[in-house]
C-alpha cells in the first residue's frame, strides 16, 4: 500500500533504538553545535549523523532530501556572500560581483546547521515506524486523540487520493475532459472536488461512529499493545545525550 511515510524497513541496529533516543539526538544535534563555537562541533555532529545513517542503511535516502535543500542553501550562500552586512574582506570576484569572506563564513555556518538538522531528523524519520513514534509520544504525554489524528492522517490521505483517482476515472468515463488546457482543467475541477468532499464528509462521520464503538472516547487510562522499548541501549543513549548537552552548556558558561 502507498503510505505517506519515508520509513525504510531495513531492520538494522539503528531501527531498534527507540524513538525517544532519536528525538533526544535531534535536540543534541541542534543544541551542541549552537552552544559550542567554531565549525568543528557542527562538522563532528554531521559526521556522526552520516555514520548513523550509513549504519541504518538509509544514507541513500537522505541524498534526495539534501539535493532538494541544496537549492535553498545555494541561494543563502549567494546572498550572504554578496550582501552580508559585516562584509569587509573581498575573497574573489565573479564578473562584477564581489564575494566576501565574512558573508561566506556566515552562510557556511547556516548551511552546516541546516545539514545537521536535516540528517538528524532523517535518522528519526527514515528508521522509525510512524506508528511507533506516535505511540512513544503518547506515552510521553501527548493526547491520545492528537496521536490518533497524526497517525491516521498518514494512512487516510493515501486512501483519499485513491478515492480521488476513482472519482476522476468515473467522471472521465462519463465523458468529462480532465486533461488539456488550463480552462478545461479548471472546468473539470468542480465536478471532481464535489464528490470527493462529500465522500470524505460521509466517511468521516462513519469513521467517527466506528471509533466510538471501539471506545475511543473512554476516559480510562490507555494501555499499549507493544511493550515499551527497553534494553540497556535505550537507557544509556538518552543518558549520554543528556550528559553531552549538559557538558556543552556548562563548558560554554564557564568560558
Amino acid at each position: 500500500m502507498k503510505a505517506l511515510s519515508l520509513y525504510q524497513d531495513r531492520g538494522t541496529v539503528v531501527h531498534r533504538v527507540d524513538s525517544r533516543s532519536k528525538l533526544l539526538y535531534i535536540l543534541s544535534a541542534i543544541l551542541i553545535p549552537a552552544v559550542l563555537p567554531g565549525f568543528m562541533p557542527g562538522l563532528a555532529m554531521l559526521a556522526l549523523s552520516i555514520l548513523i545513517l550509513a549504519t541504518g542503511k538509509v544514507f541513500g535516502k537522505v541524498l534526495p532530501l539534501v539535493g532538494f535543500s541544496l537549492l535553498i542553501l545555494a541561494s543563502i550562500v549567494l546572498i550572504q556572500g554578496l550582501f552580508y552586512s559585516g562584509n569587509k574582506q573581498l575573497l574573489f570576484s565573479l564578473w562584477r560581483f564581489g564575494f566576501y569572506r565574512e558573508g561566506l563564513l556566515f552562510s557556511g555556518g547556516i548551511c552546516l546547521r541546516v545539514m545537521n538538522i536535516l540528517c538528524a531528523v532523517s535518522i528519526l524519520v527514515l528508521t522509525t515506524r510512524p506508528s511507533d513514534l506516535i505511540e512513544s509520544l503518547v506515552r510521553l504525554g501527548l493526547s491520545p486523540h492528537l496521536g490518533y489524528v497524526l497517525s491516521s492522517v498518514l494512512q487516510i490521505i493515501p486512501q483519499m487520493t485513491a478515492t480521488m483517482e476513482t472519482i476522476t476515472d468515473a467522471q472521465r468515463s462519463r465523458g468529462m475532459e480532465t486533461e488539456g488546457t488550463l480552462l478545461v482543467r479548471m472546468k473539470a475541477f468542480l465536478p471532481l472536488i464535489g464528490p470527493v468532499v462529500m465522500n470524505s464528509l460521509v466517511s468521516t462521520r462513519e469513521r467517527s461512529l466506528a471509533l466510538e464503538v471501539r471506545a475511543f472516547s473512554a476516559r480510562s487510562k490507555k494501555t499499549f499493545l507493544n511493550p515499551p522499548q527497553g534494553g540497556t541501549a535505550n537507557t544509556v543513549i538518552p543518558l549520554v545525550l543528556l550528559l553531552a548537552m549538559a557538558a556543552a552548556i556548562v563548558w560554554r558558561v564557564m568560558q
Binding site: 500500500m1 503510505a3 515506524r129 506508528s131 506516535i134 491520545p144 496521536g147 490518533y148 497517525s151 491516521s152 494512512q155 487516510i156 486512501q159 466517511s203 462513519e206 469513521r207 467517527s208 461512529l209 466506528a210 471509533l211 466510538e212 464503538v213 471501539r214 471506545a215 475511543f216 472516547s217 473512554a218 476516559r219 480510562s220 487510562k221 490507555k222 494501555t223 499499549f224 499493545l225 511493550p227
Partner: protein, 281 residues
C-alpha cells in the same frame, strides 16, 4: 434471561420533524439471532445504533422511552461503557478501519488499548477473535490491503476482541461481493452458535430466513411484526411494507404448498424441498 429490553423507544434526529423511531417495545433473549428487516429509511440503522447508544449520545436529538442492555440503561450510560456489552458493525468495511495501525493484529488491539486492557490479556483475546473470524493468516498485513470481505471480518473481529455479549450488525454484507458476503455470514453464524446474541439488519432476506430465530419487521419507524421467520414471511401484507419474502416461500405460495403442521409457507431451501416432496407423494 432477557438480554435487551426496549420499551416505548422514540427518537428524532436533530433538525428533522418526523420521528425516526415511533415507540418501539420488544425484548430479546440471551443467545437469540434476531433479523431486522424493512425497506430503506424504515429505521433499521437507527434502531441498531440505539442499541449501542450512538442514538442518542452521538447524534443528540429527541429521545424517549428506554433501552436496557444487560442491566445497563443505554440512554444514561456512556458509549464506552456500552461498548463492552454491545459490539456494532457497520456497512462500509473501509470506514471501520481505524487508520492508525499498520497491521491487522494491531488494528484488533485498538479497542482494547482504548479500554485500558492489560497488555498480557490483549494477545489471547486478539488471537481468539482472529480465529473465530478466520483472519489469522492476515495478522501482519496492512488493514487497507485486505479485500472487502476480509476487511469486514476484521471489523467484526475487532469488535469481538472487546468481548461484548451482544453483537449488532447493520447490513454487514451490503457492500461485499457474494463470496465475501458468504464468508461474513458464516462467521456470524459461528458466533451465534457459540451463544452470542446476534442482531442483524439485512436486505438479503433468504439469509435472514435461514439464520434468524425471530424477525423484526420495521416500517416507517414502527414495529409491524416480531415473530419467527415463518410467521413474518407468511403474512399477506408484506408487499405493503416493501419486503419481498424469501424466494422459496414465494414459490411455495404460488404452488399453494404450506407446512401442514403449522399452516405456514416454508422458508428455506431444505424445508421447501421437503414440503414439495411430501406434496407430490
Amino acid at each position: 434471561m432477557k438480554k435487551i429490553t426496549v420499551s416505548g423507544l422514540k427518537y428524532r434526529y436533530p433538525l428533522t420533524e418526523e420521528l425516526a423511531l415511533k415507540g418501539l417495545s420488544f425484548e430479546i433473549e440471551k443467545g437469540e439471532f434476531i433479523g431486522i428487516i424493512g425497506q430503506n429509511l424504515s429505521g433499521k440503522s437507527t434502531l441498531c445504533q440505539a442499541l449501542m447508544g450512538l442514538v442518542p449520545h452521538f447524534y443528540k436529538g429527541g429521545y424517549g422511552g428506554s433501552v436496557w442492555v444487560d442491566g445497563l440503561e443505554v440512554g444514561k450510560a456512556e458509549i464506552h461503557e456500552i461498548a463492552q456489552k454491545v459490539g456494532l458493525v457497520f456497512q462500509n468495511p473501509f470506514t471501520q478501519v481505524s487508520g492508525s495501525k499498520m497491521t491487522v493484529f494491531e488494528e484488533l488491539a485498538f479497542g482494547l488499548e482504548n479500554l485500558g486492557v492489560a497488555r498480557e490479556d490483549m494477545a489471547p483475546r486478539i488471537e481468539h477473535a482472529m480465529e473465530l473470524l478466520g483472519i489469522g493468516r492476515f495478522r501482519d498485513r496492512n488493514p487497507f490491503d485486505l479485500s472487502g470481505g476480509q476487511m469486514q471480518r476484521m471489523a467484526i473481529a475487532s469488535v469481538i476482541a472487546m468481548e461484548p455479549e451482544i453483537i449488532v450488525l447493520d447490513e454487514p454484507t451490503s457492500q461485499l461481493d457474494p463470496q465475501g458476503a458468504e464468508d461474513v455470514f458464516q462467521a456470524i453464524e459461528a458466533l451465534s452458535r457459540r451463544g452470542m446474541t446476534v442482531i442483524m439488519a439485512e436486505h438479503k432476506i433468504e439469509k435472514i430466513a435461514r439464520y434468524s430465530d425471530r424477525v423484526l419487521l420495521l416500517h416507517q419507524g414502527e414495529m409491524v411484526a416480531f415473530d419467527t421467520p415463518q410467521q413474518v414471511f407468511s403474512r399477506d401484507d408484506l408487499e405493503r411494507y416493501g419486503v419481498v419474502p424469501p424466494v422459496f416461500a414465494q414459490v411455495c405460495k404460488g404452488m399453494g404448498i404450506r407446512n401442514p403442521a403449522t399452516g405456514l409457507y416454508p422458508m428455506t431451501l431444505d424445508e421447501a424441498c421437503d414440503q414439495v416432496v411430501n406434496w407430490h407423494e
